[in-house]
Symmetry: C2
Subunit: 338 residues, 2 copies
DNA sequence: GTGAAAGCGCTAACAT
DNA sequence: ATGTTAGCGCTTTCAC
């Protein structure tokens, strides 16, 4: 199909070794022959074969990315930042999608290993000792993001726990004391990695403790039917004055339902999300939420991987700053109402 | 690092050839030796090296994807559907992002060629004879999506033209005659592929003709400052009763600005977008728009590529069905107002 | 049914 | 400064 280095050698009347020196800026070559080779290479449209190169060097200059999907804008931005940064430092990106399926994830990783990627950036859905062993057996650097697998594998993310905890104290400062926390369900599949979801819930509990807010199991809703449950609570005794959702999509769905039922936000109830997804730009009232430094997470994941590949120091945990984005969905709780 | 087929051969006391027959279900092998080899392969955690395999077979079982970004949810969904379908048929996905930069795009394609991908799915930003020649010189099947490069390269998309044209007649049925069309600007960079944008604008013009709506250049706004211009028109003589935007983002931005200025949608003006992006789910009033079968586009792109690779028949143009999504942003034009 | 050997396109170590 | 050679891990052809 294409011209090989061998063909080039013949065309230039030199040996393959010389061709290699010319093409790869290696020392020990006459500048004239080098120029001649480079010219005929361009002329003949010589394209190097990375596969063959990789076979001998053992490096593919490719990093594998394993995420749930790129369907949501969140991962879209993440993958964009990873691809951009990777290209910047001369690496390629191999994208594989797990669709939050544990078996798929293992397959993705195995595929990447077969393709001899130099490293893997993983947003894991698996967890547990078997998975630890599996990752350990790869003999390829892995950096986990957003969900943590264990304390031995590099992890880059935010402090989900203190983020929610801060939200609670923010609400407390607005005199809210009856707060509902809506969490993505954890328990359904016990083998699934729910690190971030768990940390966020823990942050709620801790935040209530430090803010002297008394809670019980009724303050946490962890059910796919959360909308129905919340709406019931709103018309029951002692309705909540504020609701925190473990992610923005839940908050948006809830906002839609609440508005539909005639509740005003934030007058009747305050609402807070998590993630600061881009959809929020066009929603009214503006949803107060926590923003993740997505681009930084992508960039740092590449940095970490390169550090490990190059044998440089890399902290096991790299925690980036989150930020409370204040919009219009939280109000002061009016004590006189009581 | 890992076990090779050679190591396996030694461990089993057979030759490499036999190993190969066992591993790849090739005929001419004793079932017993085969089983023995398969077992020790598992035991030793043998992982085949795709790179080496590709070097000799000439096929990488990988398809390259070149899109603007995965930052927007539109491409996110597209890439998800491509990756899913590709994996289904045993292919890998190599994702490269152009950021709508013509030079980047060429680099992306060249990179993919160096990596010996078996085919490329391309949402092009380049166009013109030079690019035609460039693509032709690749000697690798290319399928273009959404933007067309030329009539010789496979293309998969929708009929943008008739989609907008149908919107016009839909508005005409609602008695709208003074319609504004807001287009993404075409002229700024003449080397940029604006196929879809151009087709949509043409659809507006054609639609007005068939619907007996008289238009002139004032009916088309093609300016980055479209918001300012539209708002001026709204308070000027003969304000439009309906506005069509060439994409949903423009429509959403416009909706935000109109609402902010106190205009009611659709009472004061009707608004229509294009693309049916997911952001629309949480916007009020619901935006009437055209939906693209994104998943089908991805799936068909893979199909087309495989057809070409396998030497099967593949139509040069594969047009999928669009759909008018009616929500709440279009009303009947009240003639009595006049 | 199995083994031996050549070669895919490249790099790297050793000669000259 | 240039040429030669031996692999990287695999498939494939041809012997036996």
């Amino acid at each position: 199909m294409g011209i090989t280095a061998n063909d080039l050698a013949k065309a230039c009347g030199v040996s393959r070794g010389t061709i290699d020196r010319a093409l790869n800026n290696r020392p020990g070559i006459n500048p004239e022959t080098k120029e001649k080779i480079l010219n005929t290479a361009k002329e003949l449209e010589y394209k190097p074969d990375f596969l063959a190169k990789s076979l001998v060097t053992g490096k593919t200059m490719t990093i594998g990315v394993v995420v749930f999907d790129v369907y949501t804008r969140f991962f879209g931005r993440l993958v964009t930042s990873i691809e951009t940064k990777a290209k910047e430092v001369g690496y390629f990106t191999y994208l594989t999608l797990t669709n939050k399926n544990c078996n798929e994830e293992k397959k993705c990783i195995e595929h990447l290993i077969e393709r001899k990627v130099d490293g893997i950036i993983l947003c894991p859905i698996n967890k547990g000792p078997d998975f630890d062993k599996f990752l350990d057996s790869l003999h390829v650097p892995v950096v986990t993001i957003l969900n943590k697998v264990n304390n031995d594998i590099e992890y880059i993310g935010i402090n989900d726990e203190s983020a929610v905890s801060e939200v609670v104290s923010y609400l407390k400062n607005g005199f809210h004391e009856n707060i509902l926390y809506v969490s993505a369900p954890r328990s359904s599949k016990s083998d699934v990695n729910m690190y971030a979801v768990e940390r966020r819930l823990q942050g709620f509990i801790d935040g209530c403790n430090t803010s002297d807010i008394v809670i019980n199991e009724k303050n946490v809703i962890e059910d796919v039917d959360y909308i129905k449950i919340v709406l019931e609570r709103m018309v029951g005794d002692n309705p909540p004055s504020a609701i925190i959702c473990s992610n923005d999509i839940y908050a948006l769905e809830l906002m839609k339902a609440l508005k539909h039922k005639g509740f005003k936000i934030p007058e009747d109830v305050s609402l807070i999300g998590f993630d600061n997804i881009d959809e929020l730009d066009y929603v009214e009232p503006g949803l107060t939420t926590i923003s993740m430094p997505i681009d930084q997470i992508g960039t740092q994941a590449i940095n970490a991987l390169l550090n490990i590949i190059d044998g440089e120091v890399q902290p096991l945990e790299f925690i980036l700053k989150h930020k409370l984005i204040v919009r219009d969905s939280v109000g002061l709780y009016d004590k006189r109402k009581i």
